[in-house]
Amino acid sequence: MITLIWADNEKGPGLLEGVKMYALKFDENLCKTCPTGDCLVKCQYMNVDKDTAVDEMLKISRGEDSFVFNDCVTCYACEEYCRRGNHPFYLITEKREEKGLLTSPRAITKQWINIGEPQGKYRLGDVKEKVLSFGYMPEFLKWVRGKLFEDVMPSFIFGQEFFCNVVYIHFANTSIIKERLPMVMENFRKLGVKEVICMHDECYGSFAHLAPAYGIDVPFKPIHYFEYLYNRLKELSNEIRPLNIKAAYQRPCSARLCSDKHHYVADIMELIGVELVEREYQGENALCCGGIFNMCFGYDLASDVQKRNIDDMAGHGAEYCFFNCPACQGTLGTKVAKRGIKPVHIIDLCKMAIGEK
């Protein structure tokens, strides 16, 4: 489990005024004494030994240049690799932003910032104290149906007004997160919700960890939808018919922001009778879907990563590839299908198990 460590600002946490720049505290001493340098040693997109890893992270911390700024592909995984809670990815991100180093073409960054801008076009269901948050992913408007959600639906929210904005760490732009997140929280506060079931890792990671670390008060209890699904399936256990299929899990980059919830994947699969294939690119060693790579770095990186990932699924006999993040499914769904592996969202897999698909 990752424990976030943050530097308080002068006024203490929770006293955000306008766009405060709460800096993540990167502890150089913690890094210097690191026995492994796992943050970069384990990185699947760099080839770095322990000493180089520590040296580069310290250089970054001191505001010096580093090849890491160029080579980091923003997969977030180092946040999980670092077991000492030193937040290497946030350090890289903050320093990139300070130096004005773009991870993606300007147009892509602008586009994403524009997409997330609140426009008053949000959609609210019959909002109760417990609510499902679809963030800004319209897929959930179709997927979140049936018995699995009948005790909460139609209590849902959707739209930029409730969008966590965490995706901007891909673009080395934490300012926009710090600017918008307080407004998002205020919108939740106005609804008076007490529990928010987050349908995306980034939303959960943002509300459970990032917002408090930035000193932003979160006026509700965030619940990861994996946890909700697991508990709901247990309630519906009499209706579960084991699927008896072999499946590969496409773990998204955003899962690194809430790795304490990752165990639910195996737990849920066990409940619904799905064999998770033991493959190379799973768990900590998961590969990115390639969506961000396409946009930021071009054809070759994305193509190589996608090929290795799908070869790995096929090579281990996966009949299904199930997704957690709709964006991953959009990027990889057709490609896995062309290899004879059925793409499906985890929600649909659960629906299949209770006879709804």
């Binding site: 073409p105 147009a107 586009q111 054809y299």
Partner: protein, 460 residues
């Protein structure tokens, strides 16, 4: 019933002629901004012989005659500026012949784009034509008459370049074949290796004759089609990007657009790049090639490929793209018009900045959109504005904006595409005098009584 109405009814049958007010109202206008003007008669012929007879009658009685397809040009080309007869060609919608191996089709003058597309998909799945993004009801003859563009324009030029033969009724009522079909049974060429007489008709908007049949070149239809969107905030780099893309000879079509709404499109220029293939391998090879040539722009952070979700693809791959029509109602009230000069690709930035400037000046919704023509030889740049038809002030502001576009287009070296009558006058004024004289001679000789779509291309 007047004598003329009676005479027209004898030619086409009573059901297919009208001088009633309700028909006159409808045929007096198109969906654009040009002022309406009612016809005296509407006639809907079914055969080339009926067209001949109607034209002979018009010529004898010196009645203006305006041929009409679906009336989708938006620039008033089918508005009967001097009254007379509007000849609606829609009943002449038969597909007469497909020569599969020579890849051409012969259609009647009122055949719609949608009809041909559906026919080919059903009967000749390996063939396609260059379908424009106008509604499916737009006719093939009208499209080539205005030098329209379509999905294959980047590869093969204007849709009118794809004509391989014409049958035309002249102002005299004589029927005339143009191209190889004037000598041979086969419609494979509109001119070469003989003098190309198609230029006497294409681009004249019916002011020299009425197309009753035409042959159109067809092209291979690949089994798969896909789309990528490269975006940039550097309008000045678009010509370089287009140059690299067209150099690959791998791309089916390139459209570029910029518009402020929805937010996903704000601030950037979007190059929509279509690729085709018969196999996954072919498609992927083309995709890779396209990505590779634009990689330097990715590395310099000047542009990148945006994620195109599976949900977006059907809309983008649709032919014609209905999203173009949806734009027409962005400003509620259903008004939409654009001026689309044909211009060098290197003028992209000037055009893109001008459309933004005019939209701000006149407080209008807008879209700038370009279609690359013939490997980057030129482009059509559409300055598109939306307006509310119930708002006369907004309509007037749109007219003013479009007028400024016209002046700008000429100043920067562009040529009007499907010009309004006013734009035709501006073009004639700027034209080389000897060219103008030649056009005048052609018009005078081909239409001595001035009955053919009068008001258009009136050089003299």
């Amino acid at each position: 019933m007047s004598d003329i109405t009676h005479s027209l009814a004898e030619i086409v049958g009573e059901e297919y002629v009208s001088d009633r007010e309700e028909e006159a109202y409808f045929y007096a206008r198109d969906p654009g901004l040009m002022p309406a003007h009612k016809p005296d008669y509407v006639v809907v012929p079914e055969t080339p012989e009926q067209v001949q007879e109607v034209v002979r009658l018009a010529n004898r009685e010196k009645i203006p005659i305006v041929p009409m397809g679906a009336g989708m040009a938006l620039t008033g080309l089918i508005i009967p500026l001097k009254g007379g007869i509007v000849m609606d060609m829609k009943r002449m919608n038969r597909i007469l012949e497909v020569n599969e191996k020579a890849r051409y089709v012969i259609v009647e003058g009122g055949t719609s784009q949608g009809h041909l597309k559906a026919y080919l998909e059903k009967n000749y799945p390996r063939l396609r034509h260059s379908i424009p993004d106008s509604p499916a009801t737009a006719t093939i003859a009208a499209n080539v008459m205005i030098h329209g563009q379509g999905r294959l324009t980047q590869q093969y030029g204007f849709n009118s370049d794809m004509v391989s033969g014409l049958e035309v009724v002249l102002a005299s009522g004589d029927i005339c074949k143009i191209g190889s079909c004037s000598i041979s049974e086969d419609w494979f060429s509109k001119g070469a290796p003989m003098p190309d007489l198609s230029g006497l008709f294409l681009g004249w908007f019916g002011a020299t004759g009425i197309i009753t049949k035409l042959a159109l070149k067809l092209y291979p239809r690949k089994k798969m089609r896909d789309v990528e969107i490269f975006i940039t905030d550097r309008d000045d780099l678009i010509p370089d990007m287009v140059y690299e893309l067209t150099h690959t000879e791998m791309v089916e079509d390139i459209n570029i657009f910029s518009q402020p709404k929805p937010m996903i499109f704000k601030d950037n220029h979007h190059m929509t790049i279509f690729i085709t293939g018969d196999t996954d391998e072919e498609l992927e090879f083309k995709r890779k090639t396209v990505w590779r040539v634009l990689e330097p722009f990715i590395k310099s952070k000047d542009g990148g490929f945006m994620g195109v979700s599976p949900a977006m693809k059907p809309t983008l791959l649709e032919m014609p793209q209905r999203s173009v029509s949806r734009f027409a109602d962005v400003t509620k009230g259903g008004g939409f018009e654009y001026s689309g000069p044909i211009i060098l690709v290197e003028k992209y930035a000037e055009c893109a900045r001008k459309v933004t400037e005019l939209a701000e000046k006149y407080d209008l919704g807008y879209s700038g959109m370009a279609r690359i023509i013939g490997r980057g030889h030129c482009m059509m740049y559409g300055f598109a504005f939306t307006f509310n038809r119930a708002d006369p002030d907004m309509m007037e502001r749109t007219r003013k904006a479009l007028h400024e576009v016209s002046k700008f287009a000429l100043e920067v070296g562009g040529i009007f595409w499907k010009p309004t009558v006013n734009e035709q006058r501006m073009a004639i004024e700027k034209m080389d005098p000897n060219t103008r004289n030649l056009m005048g001679m052609i018009k005078e000789n081909m239409d001595p009584n001035g009955i053919m779509n009068p008001g258009n291309w009136e050089v003299n």
